[in-house]
Symmetry: C2
Subunit: 190 residues, 2 copies
């Protein structure tokens, strides 16, 4: 699939088929992940690929708990209706783990930025696009307490589980949520 | 350009031609930026496109100052030799500005993550790929104090200037920095 077309047609997926995902396609996603840029080439990422459904169930329990809290704390009216069954359904989960010690020189600024988080997010976007261009769909999940994900996937305390990518063949593909136009988002200085 | 090929062949560029960049290509980059996913579709990004060389010079000054500090504080031996003339040379600068108030529900977790930063980083990666697939090259710059960038580009205190993307036609394209192999980065749980 052409690159710009892939970027513009990628959608988040909340309803996966049970169809198995070829391991070669997951490997391509991961190769694309590690080809994202990182500050000082620190490559501050690790990945866990979970295909045993036990992990989906444990994660779903943790996300249900997190959701309960967030419904209460956010007061957002759409949240109680937000279904997260896709967590159980996705045939593959990819846990993206950042290493907070692997930042670039920006860590020494007066106001440091967290390059490792930015690099991991770029790696995630590469994976979402690589999935889409291979006919797969994804959901970038951050509805969990990091402590739960550390426990479930046996991740050490010094690592930062940034997101979990749910991967599978799409059963339903929704419309793109509306975007605010560029005219409201871009200022030109020329 | 095919999507996975674009991901695997994109390189950071540190030597740009003076050749002008077509505004349509920049617009395509920005359209790709806003088609990245964001938590709860909050679209927590704004962009400044600067093509007046005055901005390059002001930014270069600020980055030189930042670099001096980082050479001293990091002790990293390669840093003094790290040339940042590309900041002056890049025909286009795109400032990516995050809005820390526009996070998704993850802001209400016990240990909140900063969804706006992750979304902006995904938007940046989309731009880098869209640039590359149109024959342009880029450099993801975070070598600046945010206060300087706020001053130079007139950005309010409540917004977070996350990165500046230097854009232009490449004069020199370096090799890809070596990546650690997947076997050191991926754990399979099946």
């Amino acid at each position: 699939m052409e690159c710009i077309e892939a970027i513009l047609t990628r959608r988040s997926c909340r309803k996966f088929k049970s169809q198995e995902v070829e391991s070669e396609k997951i490997k391509t996603m991961l190769e694309c992940a590690i080809f994202s840029p990182s500050p000082a080439n620190k490559q501050p990422w690790d990945f866990i690929v979970a295909t045993n459904p036990d992990y989906n169930h444990l994660l779903k329990e943790a996300s249900d708990e997190a959701k309960k809290k967030l419904v209460e704390r956010s007061g957002w009216k759409w949240m109680p209706k937000f279904k997260i069954d896709f967590i159980t359904e996705a045939p593959v989960l990819i846990v993206v783990i950042g290493d907070p010690t692997r930042n670039g020189a920006e860590q020494f600024l007066d106001v440091p930025s967290q390059g490792y988080q930015q690099a991991c997010s770029a790696a995630i976007q590469n994976m979402l696009l690589a999935a889409h261009s291979q006919g797969l769909s994804t959901l970038w999940l951050s509805l969990f307490e990091k402590s739960d994900v550390r426990r479930i996937f046996n991740i050490s305390q010094d690592k930062d589980p940034i997101a979990i990518i749910c991967v599978g063949y799409p059963d339903v593909i929704g419309d793109a949520p509306p975007r605010k136009g560029l005219e409201t988002k871009v200022t030109y200085l020329d």
